[in-house]
Symmetry: C2
Subunit: 745 residues, 2 copies
């Protein structure tokens, strides 16, 4: 589907700065030239090279990859360098997990080689572990806690089971990995095992590797369990760059390092533990894909030892930073990044996205050779240390915070990429731009546009019975812009969006590949990726074309490309959700009270499987949302008035007024920050988008209010309703100022 | 919860006929005396005796059980006899199922003994089979068809897989067993295997037998696969009693016997087949609980042989019929039944219900000894041959059709019983009566009333996230009468409700036991039942008290106990559903067309897992529902006007008018029949309640219209809308006549 002229109105036409002596290129000419520089064959070669050996932080091949990229970037005409930070990154010295009773079985250890996967037998991989757990050696009774999320502990409590002093075993899924040992710790557990249940990403989904792409019995998901909802980045230098001489906390002072030991586990191992658990049968929905009935354990019959000892030394991370200076607006930066470190070979995560980004850089280098120069400065970054804690990107953001706040226009992120449909998330003032780009890039499998494929998938999904957001379906059916997702965390955009207040886009294809089946395991390899995810890296090229267009269009626009009405309308939706959330929780509180009063929980329960009543709490009060509603009204009015004025006057704007507009609007998203941050986590300053304290990756919008309602901190809810109203008023005021400029006042 | 006076209004007060010389008992006195005659200890003894050996049709122990009951019934003061029919009931001479390629594995055979279950090793059990399949010996490629329901074949067709000439393997669940080979036959399959997937009733639910109650790997679900949605009962004598001299069809002429061979299978066996299937990975939702990724097969790589040879001789079924003649209205019969034949030991199904019914009979015998006599005649029946095809109850109904139509007031059914909550289904004019009884019987586990427990379960279920019908939840919360279920089929009520037009109630406790895990297997034993389902048979006694009260209250009421407004309002709900059904299908038809026009199915599909578009059909038209809406209006008006008049005049009615009312209302439900029956299945004559042609057990209400919309037979939909309107008008007219009697006109 092509973009309609109505949809284009309000977005700046492109102005291209052309170097002396070169033949001028118009927008479509630039993008066609860019596309011709994008090559799946290049990406295949880079991927094979970079995924040839383990590339975790500190691995020799990871440093080699940084150097390899540095050379390429320079050869393509970029001004490039490596910027190093010294971060606390623990690696295991020893790990042990064993069943002690009712019998002795030693578990754990490295994942074995798999026939047909050349890199699965190479040396140098770290054993399976989770980073930033708290070392220890504990032996205790085992309790199965399902996904280990808050509702799971409530379900256990209603059945009289607590985990104090015990080791919990939680399956991967539903919530972010790092919350599982954290919640275990909060509930007094002595240790935490996280395993991959075959229902989630093993044979419950499709054939397992190497026959198919899904998780084989002995594969383990590594990952970080740092308490990143407090703050990502080096745990010893929160808020500042982890340079060699930076002032550091001690490890004991660092708030984001867990206190209890934790290890990840395969389902081949986990089945040996879970099959031996006693205690009650699990609640509804807790049964996984292993071929026996799951029990909660906790009856003293299944003892496990869990021991981890780590090397807690500082290690270097290598960010590769490459720049092309803007011809006309050099102090406005368009930033683009993807990380290059993996957990083992890292073919899908992150190198599939990193090589797509490299293609963009090579293609832009090609444009440079044709004499093209961007209006704004373009900064590309291949980050190191994303996997442990978004280390490279966060430290760089903290180190360069002042300059970024003064100069950056946007940060565009990608991470692992795959076959299928474009997933786009980010700041809603850029929602229209990404929709335009989706309408201009061809899907490699179908020949339709990326936008048409996305719309078809949403519509057919809804037809087939998928739970589909009503706004999304309406947009897919009408041909209007598809709503993009709000961003939580889980990749390198976090510091840029939520700490610095830059607008952000996060882009990637997926939905048809099977890299999820080997996620963070030894088998996330070149062979797996090119067999089961994106054979031929066609979607690598598609990502380059999408992200490259976003970069080029923003870099070359004469005035900012945001459409503020989309942001305003989206915030309006979030506000409506807050009202409904409070109402629903109030209704539920009252229902618990009424059911309790009628003894309904006891009467409904099977006396042979006793389940107590949930804890009754006072009804959720009404929250003071009036000021916030007024602010949203102002925001909508200001955004739509600006849109109308700009559409009317755009053609007549003189350079001085364009410059004033660029000045007023470049940093408008930064007005959404409150420097006091969110309750209990001041590093997160954005009052519209945040990762949930108890979702980890998943976004919470209007988080100061929403999470306060969810956590029953009603004073905070009222306080943050006011603070959030204030930042939205500031944003709206700025739009009013911009409109005045457009209108020549 | 006690019944409120408002809820009691409109229901007849009880008039008790007391025999000469006995101390009169009032209603509560009769019921207290009845309760004191109900004994769980009795039921345990009877259950142990009757479940001691295989009791399928034709088994010596089944005949012994009939004789045993006959003796007891007589000893309790009942006028009892055994009534025998000669029915076509096939039993296996030989069964064979084996994997032929890619390797040879012999499967099938009898279920093995289990430690701790004394009866699991006894002789005389039939091998696992399904009755009324079509004998044959076929070898063919195997295709996994999920639950083998119509949507499953559509999903296969969209993936280019057909089953012509192949053997299908379907898992138990979702639809009735008998539809699976029937649909396979309709799609051209050569044979059908039906297996028990552990996700449905094995370790996916709880521990398996003997550690727990769920289905162990080697247990098989037997059952009938006769095409009972055409007609139940002896397939050679449709519509007439299968007496020795009855005119019979030949086996080849019998429309309800399948043409292809079929066998049931354990998951231990099925896993050997399914693990070897090639072809595409299964669609979403098709994966079961076995520990590998399921494939559809059908690629020629997995060949199976399936062979069945049966003894097709006539066999006797023994119905035990027991009567107490009414003192004042001997020609009005209150009927009560439960079957006594099982597939093997039949402890849960059916003997747990049968022994509860026996307790009622013994307790009523006790009342007789105290001089009590019912006003109406009470007829109890312990049916034979329910399992193969509702044989005993259907043949008896057909044989005694004329007398039943002239005399029967109601038929009250039960079948297997269990621990938990009362499930009540039936004719909605008796909805209020069963709600009153639920409020008067104590739940044995909680000490609350059966009604209070049911309400609590509905409310807590909704709170916990169960999908809950809004009317049901509203009733549970308000304390109003709980809606009862409409009845389809699957037990002995079918001929009485849908062929003869009697009102019916079907009653049973369940929801907490685990007899589902051994359903129709060798392990449905006394040991299993008393360990994992209803230890001590407390719920056996509860069922006796519920069903006994229903019998006694109807038998002794001076005027009919129905509340017609409940029926009228319920039919109004069904009519609303019809309108919505047509609208939804029209919308869906248009969506398929629109998605097809936009090529959305292709664009949304993974090209490596191709899925074609569904077949686009002309949009479902509007159905002529006006006459039906008028009829429902008349029905509601007539029912509520009768209620008002009766509440006003009840106290003043003289015996002559009561007699006229009894005459007018006894057979009012028979007015809901249309002698032409439903399209393609004339045996089913009821135009409000029917088993679905493609659900088997599940009810379809206003079936002539509803199924015609679903099947796109729009001319039938319009035709049956008119016919249904007519029967409802007749019913309403009769109510108007009854009101005239009440009002003395």
């Amino acid at each position: 589907m092509r973009i309609s002229s109505r949809m284009l109105a309000g977005v700046a036409a492109l102005g291209l700065a052309i170097g002396a002596g070169a033949k001028p290129l118009d927008q479509s000419g630039v993008e066609a030239a860019f596309d011709s520089g994008v090559s799946s064959a290049d990406q295949l070669e880079w991927l094979k090279t970079m995924a040839a050996a383990p590339n975790h932080v500190g691995a020799p091949h990871n440093k080699a990859n940084a150097d390899y990229m540095l050379g390429l970037f320079k050869s393509w005409g970029w001004d490039a360098h490596i910027e190093t930070f010294q971060v606390l990154y623990p690696t295991p010295i020893s790990t042990a997990v064993e069943l002690i009773a009712p019998e002795h079985i030693v578990l754990g250890g490295q994942e074995p080689p798999v026939a047909g996967d050349d890199t699965s037998g190479v040396a140098g991989a770290l054993p399976p572990y989770v980073a930033y757990q708290g070392d220890g050696d504990v032996t205790a009774d085992l309790v199965y806690v399902n996904f280990g999320m808050p509702d799971d502990y409530k379900a256990l409590a209603r059945r009289g089971i607590d985990v104090k002093g015990k080791i919990v075993i939680a399956r991967y899924g539903v919530g972010w990995r790092g919350l599982k040992p954290l919640l275990a710790q909060w509930h007094g557990a002595a240790g935490c095992i996280i395993y991959s249940d075959p229902a989630q990403d093993g044979y419950g989904q499709d054939d397992v590797y190497p026959k198919g792409g899904m998780r084989p019995p002995f594969a383990v998901q590594r990952g970080s369990v740092m308490d990143m909802p407090i703050a990502p980045g080096d745990p010893l230098t929160p808020g500042i760059g982890a340079t060699a001489g930076a002032k550091r906390l001690t490890r004991a002072e660092a708030p984001t390092i867990l206190k209890i030991p934790a290890l990840p586990m395969s389902y081949a191992d986990a089945s040996k533990l879970l099959a031996r658990l006693g205690g009650p049968s699990v609640p509804n929905g807790w049964q996984g894909g292993l071929p026996f009935a799951y029990h909660t354990g906790g009856d003293g019959g299944t003892k496990v030892r869990l021991a981890v000892k780590s090397d807690w030394s500082l290690k270097p991370v290598y960010n590769v930073i490459a720049t092309i200076k803007g011809a006309t607006l050099p102090d406005q930066w368009v930033m683009r990044g993807n990380h290059h470190d993996g957990w083992v070979m890292g073919a899908a995560d992150p190198l599939s996205g990193n090589v797509a980004m490299m293609s963009e850089m090579k293609a832009i280098g090609g444009l440079l050779k044709q004499g093209w120069r961007p209006a704004r400065t373009i900064v590309y970054a291949s980050w190191d240390g994303e996997e442990p804690a978004l280390l490279g990107s966060t430290e760089w953001a903290e180190q360069h915070a002042d300059e970024l706040k003064r100069k950056a226009v946007i940060y565009i992120n990608s991470d692992g990429n795959g076959r299928g449909f474009l997933n786009a998330g980010g700041s809603h003032d850029f929602q229209h731009l990404i929709n335009q780009v989706m309408a201009d890039v061809t899907d490699p499998e179908t020949g339709a546009t990326v936008a048409a494929r996305a719309r078809a998938a949403i519509r057919v999904g809804a037809y087939e019975g998928d739970k589909t957001d009503a706004r999304l379906l309406a947009a897919a059916e009408s041909g209007g812009d598809l709503p993009i997702d709000a961003l939580g965390s889980g990749s390198d955009f976090s510091a840029y969006l939520q700490h610095l207040g830059l607008p952000v886009l996060d882009l990637g294809f997926g939905g048809e590949g099977q890299s999820g089946g080997v996620y963070h395991s030894l088998y996330d390899s070149f062979h797996h990726f090119t067999t089961f995810d994106d054979p031929g890296l066609k979607y690598g090229a598609a990502l380059s074309k999408v992200a490259g267009r976003v970069v080029l269009r923003i870099a070359d626009a004469d005035t900012p490309t945001m459409r503020f009405g989309d942001f305003a309308d989206t915030v309006g939706v979030y506000l409506d959700e807050l009202g409904k959330l409070a109402d629903q929780r109030r209704e539920r509180d009252r229902k618990v009270e009424a059911l309790g009063k009628d003894d309904a929980f006891r009467l409904a329960a099977d006396p042979l499987k006793p389940v107590g009543a949930p804890i009754a709490e006072a009804a959720t009060p009404h929250i003071e949302l009036a000021a916030l509603a007024d602010a949203v009204d102002h925001l909508k009015k200001a955004a739509h008035a600006y849109y109308t004025a700009y559409a009317d006057k755009n053609a007549t704007l003189d350079p001085a007024r364009r410059a004033r507009l660029n000045g007023l609007l470049r940093d408008i998203d930064q007005l959404l920050l409150d420097d006091r941050g969110l309750p209990g986590r001041p590093w997160y300053k954005h009052l519209v988008y945040a990762p949930g304290r108890l979702t980890g990756y998943g976004a919470k919008t209007l988080p100061g209010v929403r999470e306060a309602i969810e956590d029953r901190r009603f004073a905070d809810a009222n306080l943050y309703a006011g603070r959030t109203a204030k930042v939205l008023e500031n944003y709206a005021d700025r739009l009013d100022q911009a409109r005045a400029v457009v209108e020549g006042r």
